[in-house]
Symmetry: C2
């Protein structure tokens, strides 16, 4: 047990005869002859009606950030302006826009465009969509985000994870090659529902839903997805024609090695060459952040180089597959392609919700990261509405799910972006591409798209982060690992569900099996601390002081009662062995019992009854939160007697032991 | 905000110049000239390897009661005896059995038998099983429980809730009238799986699973089930022939009023007459617990009376339905009826798990209740194994799910039962009934069974308990109400699932939106308490002391960061308005932060960065639990500096404000 050290022989030696000085340098007042201890009573929280409590609760749940704070004490006119500015953040920052910012925004906008165009085409292929949809998705959404969004550095467009998940979930039921129109309809419909879901999370202020995807979970999930995506790209990189549509690691690896005869050596050589080039560029930029443009420019460079290369050798190498004809022109409207009835509607809604929540998580996290670097605030609920509206509008203009991409936002930030104007510049560049440059992509080989995807997703594997999780929190590591293996071996949505389950289980476990510690007094102070941890702390004879470190809920009342009775039994055994003064009083320090429910109250009453039969007194100390109120409402306080509740452990020990002493 | 009261004008007036006396009556030591404050450092918890931590965790999760405690320091021989006694509690208490106990046990055994025989027949009908199965289930299980069980007052047999749930779940897929053999097979198989599930929960020490059915949930669930069951009994009470098999309130009520033409007035008159008699008997016993035998004897009395009555008028009243022929003889073996493959296996397993968990909850709760009244311990995990083995054995001897019944156990207790011998007496009485008295039940009318069921389940509606929940804990009341309406309008298992969901949601809500409170100093003490609640507490100028009342987890980091920044903003606004001394230091009291994960640590680091840019110092106080260790492992402590962590708020305030004063 290790708790048997440091027992103080006599009570008076460590709590009596002691003065604690609170402040420095100030001379003490004349010491009074008879020192009397002041006992503070525990206050009830201020009276509130049920409605007031509900109102407080609701405002804490849905409006913790006090969104109307800025509107207080303003004229009506000012309020209107603030309202418009809060709906369209562009109205706010555009007034303060300066020309020198424009230069930075143009540079960063063009830089992310050079990254977004090849990535857009690649990610669309990852979602089994026509490559041009990726370009469409890099045109409309950035424009909408620049009007509605509150982040200055978010670079908007398709992202790898959401593309991957959409591709997996939809192609599980509908084949993109056999029924391309239906598949496209489902993709737009899923995008629409993703947008509706995101916007309603924001509107209903339920943004905390995405908090349940913890960083640890996402770490494992993204690493697993990156591995799967990279392996899937072996199709393009090796030139395999017949490849599985499944996303688990086993069928993917089987596909790779079963079709060895399809490997095309020209594709393999060029693919690996360009992959090496891209990885080297990425490595250089990571080592020296100032050289961010090396990795930013590499994809476009390699697309241009590889296209030229394939164009030159087109007659000799028939094994190399390339994109082929792309339609010139801007996004066609796709409102008529939304699919609101039929057997696949449920699939579209499910895909929309999963991709919606994933893209939201990435967008918000990226926005917050760069906002904190530049010390401005991003309002989560407002961002959700911006991203949601952007996807709803996107679904009507031939775009699929988009959000703020981590890699492109980082490039945007490093390239010196000042405002969302860089997104407008990006859209303009994509506009030019869509209108005039499409024929140039005819000979762009598929292997270069595979290489670009691999380079992008390989950065998602953060093994150092996983090692840190292992070092700091084993259960977080477990959540991380289970989402990693869940994604690899089971499926993307199920892997995610398992990881969320592990995270929630962690919370429940903490509540189901809370810590209970025995406290001791630190000599010459009123401080009571964990005996097991503070070697200088010493037991108080005749007392057993227990601290419960969790709310007392139905899920832990049985455990807590058993555990406390065991502490008492062990204490009594120890006393018997050491011939100490008998146990007379159990003090429960409830400072960390931040909530209690009816089961918890019943447990305390029963514990008191059990202890009374053993002639042990039960005393509660410092019931915080709603505990005092509930003890009162359930009439428990009456049956305990007001002298059973103290404000501090020190006062309880002092008062009770004083009452034991024979009166003079 | 209501927090603006009581601000102390000058720092020194309330923390300086003060002496706190710890104990009474003991004269103070000579006051030293220069009073220096002692600063205590925060200790790390004792070093443990990962394996040791895991071991500790596992032992707290699975063995909180230290089950091998009694075996410590014993000889091998004694250990063996203790082991046998712990497996078969009968070996322990039978040695101490005295003859005078036997008299009480016989009386209580016969009393519960008079209740168990009519209830057994009735409950079997509730589960859509032949009435005789109810009697079989009152014979074998009590015998097995008396050997294995550790409760002395539990009266074992079929119970209403489990019977109802089994009847509902099985008859949803298989009709008990069209396929009686298959239905019976499924019932025995479900019983077998219920037993396996219960025994394995006990064996794997996963007993805490049943803790997730909180008392509030069960209250609503049982009330809902009681309403449904009572309404279903209108079939027997009104003499309706065609009745729905569904369990929701709407089809049941429709059935009652659609078949008005089938109502038989003789049945209605006699049924209501006996129901009134039974309810009166129940009321008398509730008012005067000494007259417990009135309600205990009433069912058998009314069975006898009604049987005689029906026998006498059998030629005149054809509308009255009665039980008919019952097979004489003991339980036939039913091992060959267990059903381990085929399309209904999943249903049988599901039914087994749901009825298993419900009957376990009732059995354990009842056992614990009476154990605590007589001040002995019931080991939850051991009870689960006993109940599980009893059901496994039952499923092979034509019994369906059994457990400890609340109503019969209460009668058993009141009748003076001393040991599980009363269960053996009960089994003996059932044995005699099965062997010799079966023909007597030929004319027992079905309306009396309905009346007995209604009388039994009506006691499950505890509206006073529900009112108490409303008064004490609104969220518990919500869980109660949602399980009530879930059972009434949706279905029994779904209603239960919804209620468990609400209970778990309550825990998660507490973690997702924890309380944060501003602390103030109670004058002339080192006590810091909620400013909003303790009117005498006063703010400490230049400090903002925040207490977080929950673990810091991924689910609340975003909220907490936003909320703390809002507290700071509000404090700064207040200072500006009141021309107070500027805010310099934020103290976070982590006493109630009983756990922290990697997201929480990241949040603290980010908060510190944000505050540093605003020239505000961030100080942590009393990191308990694993917080200190994780701060250290993640190197956060290094970056914070050791002077940013204090043991108490008082020491932090004293030390930091001393450092601000110009050195003399």
């Amino acid at each position: 047990m290790g708790l048997n050290s440091n027992r103080v022989e006599d009570f008076s030696t460590h709590t009596g005869n002691t003065t604690v000085r609170v402040s420095t340098e100030i001379p003490m007042p004349a010491a009074p002859e008879a020192v009397t201890m002041e006992i503070h009573s525990v206050c009830m929280p201020p009276k509130k009606t049920t409605f007031q409590k509900l109102k407080h609760r609701v405002s804490e749940i849905f409006f913790p950030d006090d969104p109307l704070y800025g509107f207080k004490n303003q004229t009506w006119c000012k309020k209107l302006v603030l309202g418009v500015q809060s709906l369209f953040p562009i109205c706010k920052w555009f007034l303060e826009y300066e020309l020198r910012m424009f230069r930075s925004d143009i540079i960063s906008g063009l830089t992310i465009a050079s990254l977004a165009i090849p990535q857009g085409i690649s990610y669309a292929k990852l979602a089994n969509l026509p490559p041009i949809v990726g370009l469409y998705s890099s045109f409309v959404p950035p424009l909408i985000y620049s009007v509605l969004g509150s982040s200055r550095h978010l670079a908007v467009g398709p992202v790898s994870i959401a593309s991957l998940v959409m591709g997996t979930m939809l192609s599980g039921s509908v084949s993109p090659t056999d029924e391309p129109i239906l598949y496209l309809q489902l993709a737009f419909t899923a995008t629409f529902f993703a947008g509706v879901f995101q916007a309603s999370l924001g509107l209903l202020r339920l943004g905390f839903v995405i908090d349940f995807l913890s960083k640890a979970t996402l770490l494992g999930f993204m690493a697993g997805a990156a591995v799967i995506v990279s392996l899937q790209q072996l199709k393009g990189l090796l030139g395999i024609v017949h490849f599985t549509n499944k996303m688990q690691i086993i069928p993917v690896l089987t596909s790779v090695f079963k079709h060895e005869n399809e490997w095309s050596w020209q594709t393999v050589v060029m693919g690996l060459g360009f992959l090496l080039f891209l990885l080297t560029a990425r490595h250089i930029s990571m080592k020296k952040p100032k050289l961010f443009w090396v990795s930013a420019a590499a994809p476009l460079t390699s697309v241009i180089l590889s296209t030229i290369l394939v164009f030159c050798i087109r007659s000799k190498a028939h094994g190399i597959s390339y994109i082929g004809h792309l339609q010139k022109g801007l996004n066609p409207p796709s409102l008529n392609m939304l699919y609101f009835n039929g057997q696949h509607l449920a699939l579209a809604i499910k895909t929309g919700i999963v991709t919606g929540i994933l893209s939201l998580t990435e967008g918000i996290a990226v926005g917050r990261t760069f906002a904190s670097l530049k010390n401005y605030q991003v309002d989560g609920n407002k961002e959700m509405m911006a991203i949601g509206l952007m996807n709803m509008a996107g679904s009507c203009t031939s775009c699929y799910v988009t959000t703020g991409s981590f890699s492109r936002s980082a490039v945007n930030y490093n390239a010196g972006a000042q405002t969302a104007i860089s997104n407008i510049v990006l859209a303009a560049a994509v506009f030019v591409t869509l209108m005039f440059l499409m024929p140039l992509f005819y000979y762009t080989p598929n292997f270069i798209l595979a290489a670009i995807i691999i380079t992008a997703v390989i950065g998602l594997i953060d093994y150092q982060g996983a090692y840190k999780l292992w070092k700091v929190d084993k259960l977080d590591f477990l959540a991380c690992i289970s989402s990693f293996f869940g994604v690899l071996f089971i499926s993307v949505p199920l892997g995610l569900a398992i990881a969320v389950g592990v995270s929630v289980f962690k919370i429940l476990l903490h509540v189901t099996r809370p810590n209970t510690v025995v406290l001791g007094n630190i000599p010459r102070t009123q401080i009571y601390q964990n005996l097991h941890r503070y070697r200088e702390a010493s037991r108080v004879p005749s007392f057993l002081i227990l601290a419960i470190e969790s709310p007392i809920y139905f899920a832990n009342t049985t455990y807590l009662q058993e555990r406390m009775l065991r502490w008492i039994r062990e204490e009594e055994d120890w006393i018997k062995e050491n011939h100490e003064s008998t146990l007379k009083c159990i003090i429960i320090d409830m400072t960390a019992v931040t909530a209690i429910d009816t089961s918890g109250i019943d447990m305390l009453c029963e514990l008191r009854k059990i202890l009374l039969e053993r002639k042990l007194q039960l005393v509660l100390v410092n019931p915080v939160g709603n505990a005092m109120e509930k003890l009162h409402n359930s009439k428990t306080l009456e049956s305990f007697g007001t002298s059973s509740v103290y404000l501090t452990v020190g006062e309880a020990v002092g008062d009770i032991s004083a009452a034991w002493k024979p009166q003079p």
